[in-house]
Symmetry: C2
Amino acid sequence: MNFHGHQIIGKTTSAESGETFTGIDPRDGTVLPGEFHEATNAEIDQAVNLAAESFDTFRHTSLEDRAAFLEAIADEAIAFGDEFLIRASAETGHPLPRCTAERGRAVNQARLFAKMVREGSWVDARIDKALPDQQPVPRPDIRSMMKPIGPIAVFGASNFPIAISVLGSDTISAFAAGCPVIIKAHPAHPGTCEAAALIIQNAIKKCGLPDGIFSLVHGRSARVGTELVKHPKLAAAAFTGSLNGGRALFDVANARPVPIPFYAEMGSVNPIFVLPGALEERADGIAKGFIEALTTGVGQFCTNPGLVFGIGDNSGWDTFRSTAAELATEYDPQTMLHSGIHYAFEEGVKAMQNMGGLTLKARSIREPVEQKSEAACYLFETDSEGLLDHPQLFEEVFGPVSTMVECQSPRELEAFAEQLDGSLTASIHGTEEDLETYKNVITVLERKIGRLIFNGYPVGLDVCDSIHHGGPYPATCHSHFTSIGTRCINRFVRPVCYQNWPNAALPPELQDENPIGIMRMVNGERTRSV
Amino acid sequence: MNFHGHQIIGKTTSAESGETFTGIDPRDGTVLPGEFHEATNAEIDQAVNLAAESFDTFRHTSLEDRAAFLEAIADEAIAFGDEFLIRASAETGHPLPRCTAERGRAVNQARLFAKMVREGSWVDARIDKALPDQQPVPRPDIRSMMKPIGPIAVFGASNFPIAISVLGSDTISAFAAGCPVIIKAHPAHPGTCEAAALIIQNAIKKCGLPDGIFSLVHGRSARVGTELVKHPKLAAAAFTGSLNGGRALFDVANARPVPIPFYAEMGSVNPIFVLPGALEERADGIAKGFIEALTTGVGQFCTNPGLVFGIGDNSGWDTFRSTAAELATEYDPQTMLHSGIHYAFEEGVKAMQNMGGLTLKARSIREPVEQKSEAACYLFETDSEGLLDHPQLFEEVFGPVSTMVECQSPRELEAFAEQLDGSLTASIHGTEEDLETYKNVITVLERKIGRLIFNGYPVGLDVCDSIHHGGPYPATCHSHFTSIGTRCINRFVRPVCYQNWPNAALPPELQDENPIGIMRMVNGERTRSV
């Protein structure tokens, strides 16, 4: 396909700026077709204004219409064909099957949200009927439900060019809520973004929705994202990426005359705890699972495990370490997403190699090729003192590198759990008896972690109602919210309350007859009855 | 009762600083008994550390135990007797019956939250059972629910010394969630705060809970609040007060190395729209209701109506204006909460008197007594141009002052609705036909307003499940959340997700058997079944 490289502002395109950049294949540095224009401030302004203009129409669409729109996006993503995937593969170095799998996830996700939107109970409708005889003051009829908040800026992730980018859960949940979306295209996969934008435009046309509900702006400079977040008509932004980038935009969002929520998912260290019972039973298997998790997608997952804690007084721990080391050695270096990420990885590993008390336990035998932005797998090890000496080990290094930490007691594990920053996940390998012995560790983790995994690995989450992809800072900027799973619609809605409102003028979700048949809270009871 | 005026840090008290202040009766400037010590940074640190230490115990209490605790607070508030109310009256100038009513609201509120906590469905439990045959990847068992986030700082409001202060919904909802609370006592009613703290301590003792879950620090200086919000172990803060104070602390919360949510409810202009059908039917009655709402509590309600829009081409509008003017004239000036608020009110009114195009339509005949911090009722009027010339009229002046704005068309009303900032409420007086004719106005208001009232008045809300006391900035800092009503517990919880977790080690809310019988989402269906 051909890439025009322009901003997409509703149904029009615009390329005011002469400043352009290109997509690059990280596997060999090839410049990919298409010149992408940096968005000007005027173009950003146009996109957000158009989104704001379309908001009143879009938010008044029925739940059924919005569900159909999400399903149309899923259908169009399939119908668009493989060129989209080929471009995604070229821009990220992801093998094609991975891109196909990502599309599958994005499609299923859009359908899951469609199902939720259509069912309708997610609006959290509440009705308290009038109590004219209430003492000391009569109660009027009061009803409330969640309503969309307005135009949303979406900053996709470099590591999931399909499933956490233009077609990702930020876009899908904003649309599900009834909010227009302005995408800040990821500069590392601009062509993939343009293709995905066409998919969404096709769905908009098919459903007869206002074209202003979707725009996309390009930019490599921080200015583009900053201007977008500063725009007075923006209602919120969602971001997946680095701590530095996320925090900078979070600060911009909060410094506005009218602050807006900035929902950033910024990654985390995702510790694994390997407890003695499990080590005795299956040290080998856990080590295999660990290295697989560590190297999946060249270690470029938000949930990549950066620290592994084990109890040293256990022969299983030695088995675990040696199996993990062996597998790390065998890992064939792979191309990272782009040269910037590759450089940061190499710098991170270099810093670790220079830390006293930290030993390089294993490294891929094959030398990575720098021109291909290849990353080897690195496995370090240390003991409690080594970790205490280097608190920077609690920070994420993005890529296939992890540190095994040998502890001596439950208390030591508990102390390290206490030192962890907020994290998306923690994984505990153990027996049920271990869970009892180490329950203080779990108690601490429940304060710090978004998702606690028992005898499993953090990468490769299932998109469903119960999943949580969030957690205390720096995992995210607001731990109440998730960026994956159906709960993530909560980021883009707020309660609107109607007091003494005529039944016919109420939204259907709040009408006496409960025409959509949703679960509501009526006079304190959860019910689908009227 | 005697007031020690010390910081209350769990079960101990502390008065490190020699710097003290007193409560003052605004009705005559009398210095009230008790010297209250400014909290030192060390005392603040102690209080938050103690809260953090008690968190693990408190959050593991059962829903039943927490419900019983909230009911104990309600019972102790009654058992404490009237001295509490007498002090509140003396510190605020509120007549005693108002203080009694406030206690009633606080007590009912604690009981409402107890009911919600005990019922348990509020935890939003979600279960997606394992699908070992799912393609392309099997799904593990995934479950999640809301869990408390940690120590919460509460900044109560000056205008509700009982119902929105130490015993208010911020404290009650934090406790309901399982979060310890540190109160920053309001310096305008420090004695009332100390008495309310005793009530909570009595309930803690009665229920055998850790004393560290509740502390209270005093301070007139901004330092005390700032230090509290900056404390690394604080998880969130809730605030009700002025825009300046709220925004300053919001900025502190966001500038932390680890930012925390700062939930501020900062008041709003609460417009009233009087539509032609209603004006024809009952201009007189609406004017009476309006002036009553404007002067309730000496106009010191967050929901006080600061702007009234009417359609001039209507004899009912003249009736409305003259009746409102007559009633404003008759209003007997009353004592405001304290001299600072009184001064700000007088300054606000003075500024309005100097605005060209704005006419003083009416003022209380009786001259207010400055030594008693008395406020007269002021009613201004202007037309569209006057309002356009003075956008500051869209900002709140706290007290019994309002401006009637004469418009000429639905379009003009719509344009003004569009100019409004976020507001807690808007009230529409009209017929159902008016609602149809002016539906564009409603469409705009649904974007700006937290609670839309039909043929009613904003002051005096009912605390229930459906109420919403929030709205877009500057009404609050985060429009997803409310500070009143049971939804306000959402501010203090976050999802915690358990993957492949042994049933016995799960919290009861997520166990297979559904032992508490709560409503859950199981495999996408809302059900109380297992």
